[in-house]
Assembly symmetry: C2
Homo-oligomer: 364 residues x 2
Amino acid sequence: MQFKYLMPTKVFFGRGSVRENSSELASFGKKALIVTGGSSAKLSGALSDIAAALEGLGIEYSVFDKVENNPSPETVKAGGEAAKDIKADFIIGIGGGSPLDAAKGVAVLAVNDMDPMELYTNSFRNKPLPIVAVPTTAGTGSEVTPYSILTRNDLKTKMSFGNADTFPKVAFLDPAYTETMPFNVTANTAVDAFSHCLEGYLSKRSTPPSDVLAKEGISIFGSCLDALVRREIEGDTREKLLYMSMLGGFVISQTGTTVLHGMGYNLTYFKDVPHGKANGLLMAEYLKFNYPYAKEKTDNVLRLLGVETIDEFGGKLASILGEKPHITDEETEIFASITMKQRSTASNIRPVEASDIIKMMRNM
Amino acid sequence: MQFKYLMPTKVFFGRGSVRENSSELASFGKKALIVTGGSSAKLSGALSDIAAALEGLGIEYSVFDKVENNPSPETVKAGGEAAKDIKADFIIGIGGGSPLDAAKGVAVLAVNDMDPMELYTNSFRNKPLPIVAVPTTAGTGSEVTPYSILTRNDLKTKMSFGNADTFPKVAFLDPAYTETMPFNVTANTAVDAFSHCLEGYLSKRSTPPSDVLAKEGISIFGSCLDALVRREIEGDTREKLLYMSMLGGFVISQTGTTVLHGMGYNLTYFKDVPHGKANGLLMAEYLKFNYPYAKEKTDNVLRLLGVETIDEFGGKLASILGEKPHITDEETEIFASITMKQRSTASNIRPVEASDIIKMMRNM
């Protein structure tokens, strides 16, 4: 047994968690920059809760709400400038994965004069500003990971940076903030969170504690699967999905992701398929590909999900996620070549060649 | 679902973890005080590994090796003076629970002019020095908790302090360091670690993530139970016990302990029974007492341990732990009164009265 474990974010989970624990914000300083995408932060009530908390503590703040879906390094640079302009002491990311990931880049660039492309070196002269994360989707897990995933137009994909200093210091996880998500966003983000649990469990970098957390997340996704198939997100399903999303973040903070995320990024970059859906559409093929190298773990996954076969699970995912994009043979070759360059591909439990990726994408 | 989760310690688990990750020490400064009990640190090889790591990094160090079993606030005060004398930048605790707990107090007193009894206020003007923890037993979990448990002669018991700043920054968990423990220490400390998992699981303060970790620890203890009964600690049992101990620390960092720890302190303070053994001797009665309030959880515990009944488990514990101390009726009344004053007693899943404690102690 040989492993490293680190998950330093302080998590407050539950309804009203911002209001009840707002004093946590007091230690970070007197000026905050809120980084968000504009719509979900407002709609969910998260932005107004955070604003009220800051006002109650006498902390000044500005709002940078220009984060697009799948944010670019340029957006992060603009956020860094905004933080410098107000001399921010800390950064608060509110939203789905895009604003939370952008907030991490902003926290670095706020105190480092560097080109945003240098973020990928993971080496920052000055420690990033403290980051507070408030998710409004139950998927990314970014609230409890060090990772920030930005779009690399030069490489035509998404790629992550992050080190121990880009873990959020505090995360407020309130299931109420996820209630305004439409069904397709709920479904796509839930599958993303599940993908973190699944890929961490099937990673070469999996560890005993990450496996414990991953199995819990997989089991919780299993308990939500029928509700997702029925498109009836009721009762405690929202809080279960948010809890699973947190567990997925705990897991990939130890293990990173695998070839599934790398493949999925192509569908997002070139075909505009939402991130979680992209992973979900490829998931059955991914499980079949890995099966010879992870029979026991895959059988555990199916058991924890409450399904008999990979195909049964794939059928449920298909019904949850909707239609698949059309991909030409030429495109699969390009996608395979791009995926082979992702670091996470090397973590896959079964060694991956470009031809394997082509096969998985065609079979999908 | 409503919980807080915090476990910020960076853990390096595995054989050779100090050697392989010694660079982690570089960020804490140029002068270290090593706090230890003297014997296990040397015998286990942990002290020489840490010394070699510090020398390799050009970090000066002194050794304060005056920590007794169940350390007193006075010892911690002396350690704090030693740290001040050398202007230590950080504190390294090496040993069982006593040196690790003392190291936390030393880290606070090194930078705060306060009476050691004020440690229990958990309010420190200056942040404690960074703490590095290197356990040589598999029991305390102190390497991954904020808690420091010191002997309170005024209250005739042991009592804990600690806040988010007394979590060790880094913990090196090397099962090789635990191999020099004699069987009785292995057994007593293993039961202590299990007690953390068990009490966390049966605490009113238990949370979804603490329950996941607790169940894993309970299951691992179950897989070591027969080896402990046979007194044959071989193969990967050492590393399983150390991993369980880490999980127990993760758990009580969320939940704290319960009435079992509070009762056990009496046997340690008045009867000189080692801490883990003290909890273990009372464990079957504790499980029976709580059963009406935690049927499902207790049944889970028995299933994860691989035993049929509480009595079967109690029998195994008795054979592992050896003879019980003699306690008079008068003593049980005093012990009950002292235990009722422990904060952890209020966390017990079943409300506790003094008469309940008297009954459990008599039945033991």
